[in-house]
Each structure stands twice: as structure tokens, then as C-alpha cells.
Symmetry: C2
Subunit: 199 residues, 2 copies
């Protein structure tokens, strides 16, 4: 009368799933999550979809990241950091080569258009920060550092840095709108997109 332990004869072998160290899984999850957040935003991104996309169970996702909020903070941090570090590297290399660092950083920035993900996640972070105060704090701090680095590496003054950052924001918005091919965009840039003004 007790329930039989028999599992009802699994019809196929259970696919012999690979076991993977947790760290590696976390990286997978963060990649997948970034793509989904880029499309849907942080609030609408669903943990179930992230789990499925990462090839793990919903339950295990919450062992890797105890709450959705922590996952999102990490996603945001990765995206911001990647862009920040990329720009620093490009700027300093150019400087070492005796070229204009600001131009090099601009090119690096526009290169990010190739894979929109970081750009979009950054934008989504900004809009989510209104209802996620911790994120807001982190972002304000991060922006301060980015701007300080731009200024330090390029040696440019406030006006030039402001113009530079503003252009970056415009690119971000164009990417988010999927408007790279809109005629007003090509009019604005008067030629192929990837060129930031030398100012």
C-alpha cells in the first residue's frame, strides 16, 4: 500500500547532463541574463526565462543567486565595468602611442554597438535605478569614476568631457531604439556611424 519507490520506468536515458562548476554556471547565467535584461528591462526580465536560457532549473538559479535583485546588480555591474575598462584600456593605449585618447575612447565606445548588450543593459540599469535605490547609488558612484577617468586620461576639460559623454548617451539611445539605419541617424552623423567628433 505504501507508494512504490519505482519511478515508472524513465523512457529515455536522462541525457547524461554535464556537471559544471558553480562559478562557470554563474558566468553562463550572467551572460544569458544580460541578453534578456537588454531586451526586457530589469523588472520584466523573468528569472524562469533566465534559468531556462542558461540550461539549469529555476530552483538552481536561486542557489547561484539568492535573489533576483542580487542577480540584477551583478548583471548591471558587469556591463558597466566592461564598458568602463574597455574605455580605459583604449584611452591609455592611444596615449602611449601618442594619439588622442578621447578619439580612441570614442571609437571603443562605438565599437560597443557591434554587440549592443552592454549598451542596453547600461540603459536599462539607469531606468531601473528609480525603483531600485541600491542600484541608483552604485550607478551614481560608477559614473563619477568613469568621468574622472575620462578626464584624467584625456586631460580634457569639463566641456569636452561633457560633449564626449553626451555623444555616448546618444549612441546608447540610438542602439536602444534600433535606429542605426534610420535616415535621421545617418543625417546626424553624415556618413558611416562609427565616428565620434574629435571634440
Amino acid at each position: 500500500m505504501s507508494t512504490p519507490t519505482n519511478h515508472d520506468a524513465p523512457p529515455q536515458a536522462p541525457a547524461k547532463r554535464r556537471r559544471v562548476p558553480a562559478e562557470e554556471r554563474r558566468e553562463d547565467v550572467l551572460r544569458v541574463a544580460a541578453a534578456i535584461v537588454a531586451r526586457d528591462g530589469m523588472h520584466a526580465a523573468s528569472t524562469a526565462e533566465i534559468a531556462k536560457g542558461s540550461g539549469i532549473s529555476h530552483a538552481y538559479l536561486f542557489r547561484l543567486f539568492p535573489t533576483k535583485e542580487e542577480l540584477m546588480l551583478e548583471v548591471s555591474h558587469r556591463a558597466g565595468d566592461a564598458m568602463h575598462q574597455g574605455m580605459i584600456a583604449a584611452g591609455e593605449q592611444a596615449k602611449a602611442r601618442g594619439e588622442d585618447p578621447l578619439v580612441a575612447m570614442g571609437i571603443e565606445w562605438t565599437n560597443q554597438l557591434a554587440d549592443h548588450t552592454n549598451l542596453l543593459v547600461s540603459l536599462q540599469s539607469i531606468t531601473a535605478s528609480r525603483s531600485l535605490p541600491v542600484l541608483g547609488d552604485r550607478l551614481r558612484e560608477a559614473w563619477g569614476e568613469v568621468i574622472a577617468d575620462i578626464a584624467r586620461i584625456s586631460g580634457a576639460g569639463p566641456d569636452a568631457v561633457r560633449a564626449f559623454v553626451a555623444q555616448g548617451m546618444l549612441l546608447q539611445v540610438i542602439a536602444a531604439l534600433g535606429a542605426e539605419d534610420a535616415e535621421w541617424v545617418s543625417w546626424l552623423h553624415d556618413g558611416p556611424l562609427p565616428c565620434m567628433p574629435p571634440t
Copy 2:
């Protein structure tokens, strides 16, 4: 045996609800919805909260706006339109007075910082457009018109218009981050915020 029609003695009078024409209610709802969307984004904004904030039942909200999507499209349209019209007006008035229209439009734009709502709704629209294709179409079109108007009224060329719009985006982001008082912001603007560069 039939259920008594007696309503169990309503303890207070039912508050004598005011009846209001549907059009007027729609305006209320749109205002409330804009504020909530500004904070939470279009996906996370809840119709229930919008209804409650507007002082109507959840059910009636869906008579005023048949779906959430239509509500959101209207919210987005209102915000974008308000900013667009405001800029056109400021630009043309300045032109009539013989002043630089681009400067006037910039001032108008920064004035929007006083009540962030439109700025934020615009940003939220942009990020939502990735998962709401109709919205994306509308936004790309609207941006084309805005940029054409800026160019027409100011007579400025692509570079100046691009710089102008980019500054606008930066302001939008600063507002979204709630970073108006951050030190990097005041460094960037080197003085009080509301001043766009003449170029």
C-alpha cells in the same frame, strides 16, 4: 429564504461619489500613469496601482483604456509630444525675437528637469521599445520629426544638431539617475545646471 436585499446597514454614507466625464478621467489616469511609469518603467508599472492612484476601480480603467499596451502608448505619446511642442514653441519664439533658437530650445529642455516626469517617461519608452515593437516604430518616427524640426528652426547643421540632441540625452540620464547634485555633474557643467552650450 431568498437572500435579503438588505445591505447590512452601510455604516457611513457611501461618500457620494462624484461622477466625472470619461474624457476628464482619462486625463487623470494619464497623469497618474505617467508618474508611475517614470518610476517603474512600462512593464513594471501595474494597472492596479494606476487605477487606485486615479481613484477609480481596476475594472473601469479597462473601460477607459482597453489594454495596458494602449494606455502605455498614449502615455509615451503625451510625454514625447509635450517635450517636442515645448521645444518648437521656445525655438520659434526666440527666432521671432531675433535670438538664437538653439539656445532657447536648450533652456526649454533643461526646464523640463523641474518636473522630471516627461524626461523619465521618454527614457522609459526608449528602453521599453525593445520589447514593444509598436512603440519602437512610433519612437523612431517621432525622433525623426523632432530632429527635423530642430534643424529647420535653428538652421543648424548635422554636427550642431547632434551635439544638441546628445546634450539632451545626457540631461535625461542625469535626471533618471537622480544625480543632479552629484559632484561629477556640477564639475561637468561647471556652474549651475541649466545651461546648454551654445553650439
